[in-house]
Symmetry: C2
Subunit: 194 residues, 2 copies
């Protein structure tokens, strides 16, 4: 199971299975139930998570009590409130399992020790954050570039299987509009295809 993490690391940097074995004690395997919170908005965020199976999402609470989804994490992605995790602040976001999930977690202290003991892992995480940053910039680009309808179509065509797995309510909030309007869009498109 932690093979998956090993392979993911090995895809980015040179690492021997011996080294990885030595690093194992820093990681913990976790079983997460659907709707379980891994990070909670307003509380300290001490762990970083790597998804082996299932999916997570990150959201924050809006003034009217809704949940605004910021991003998803599926297999082979790291997720946490990066800002809170790295600076030891309280979280601005909640990280929650959308489905039953298996994740690997590492605490802030262990992360620091891991990086001190195995400096080559800095390179791995540099690449991880580099990619996450680039993805986030593209997210912003799409938000501005595409109309709401185009944004939905774009996402639907890019992750056709994924949108089947998740509630429309959450998808709508990720895309930045109301569930009602998503409903309207889907209706319109269904008619168009006849």
């Amino acid at each position: 199971m932690s093979d998956i993490l090993f392979q993911h690391i090995a895809k980015h940097i040179n690492i021997s299975s011996n080294d990885f074995a030595a690093m194992l004690p820093y990681f913990r395997l976790l079983n997460v139930k659907k709707k379980e919170d891994l990070v909670m908005e307003g509380k300290p965020c001490r762990q970083n998570y790597f998804v082996l199976k299932g999916s997570l999402r990150m959201f924050f609470l809006t003034e009217n009590g809704g949940e605004q989804t910021i991003q998803f994490a599926i297999e082979n992605w790291w997720m946490t409130d990066v800002d809170a995790f790295s600076k030891g602040k309280t979280a601005s976001f909640t990280v929650q399992a959308m489905e039953h999930a298996e994740v690997i977690s590492i605490s802030k202290e262990d992360m620091d020790q891991l990086l001190a003991a195995y400096p080559f892992m800095e390179r791995y995480f540099r690449m991880i954050y580099e990619r996450a940053y680039a993805a986030s910039l593209f997210r912003v680009k799409y938000i501005f570039q595409l109309s709401k309808e185009q944004f939905y179509n774009h996402f639907a065509s890019q992750y056709p299987a994924f949108i089947q797995r998740i509630p429309q309510k959450i998808l709508a909030s990720f895309l930045g509009f109301t569930p009602e309007y998503l409903s309207e869009l889907r209706k319109k498109q269904a008619l168009g295809k006849k």
Copy 2:
């Protein structure tokens, strides 16, 4: 002048001035005129830039020929089309000087060699990307959380000096609305203060 970069690195990691001196050949000092492009959408992106003085912005072209600004870089920030730079693809964004600027640049090849020769720099860039990623997530959060008017007020109160320095047209595009609407907002707020 490259002192500024040294101090910025030293703020993040342990580094001797000897090591930094040895790294200097990898960097180039650049004088950039206002409106000069450092990265051009559609062309290869071979350099990464660190701002010593002045300011840059990153934007892409919309279908109707407008410029949608994605982010700004002021003193002590790195900026490039990260995705294109790291993967050697053509750029999705243009990086342009908003004012006369002094920047330090490093090419992709030099960056790779630098990281190979001085692996501790991986840690520096890991932290840089970590912070950039966190900032980008907050950007997305604000886009969703705040109304257009609140977004403007938020930005105006956070960077009061900066908004004096930049054309409203660019500010409006960064905030995600039209110059006309920004004009309306400013008018409304001016009246409110009487």
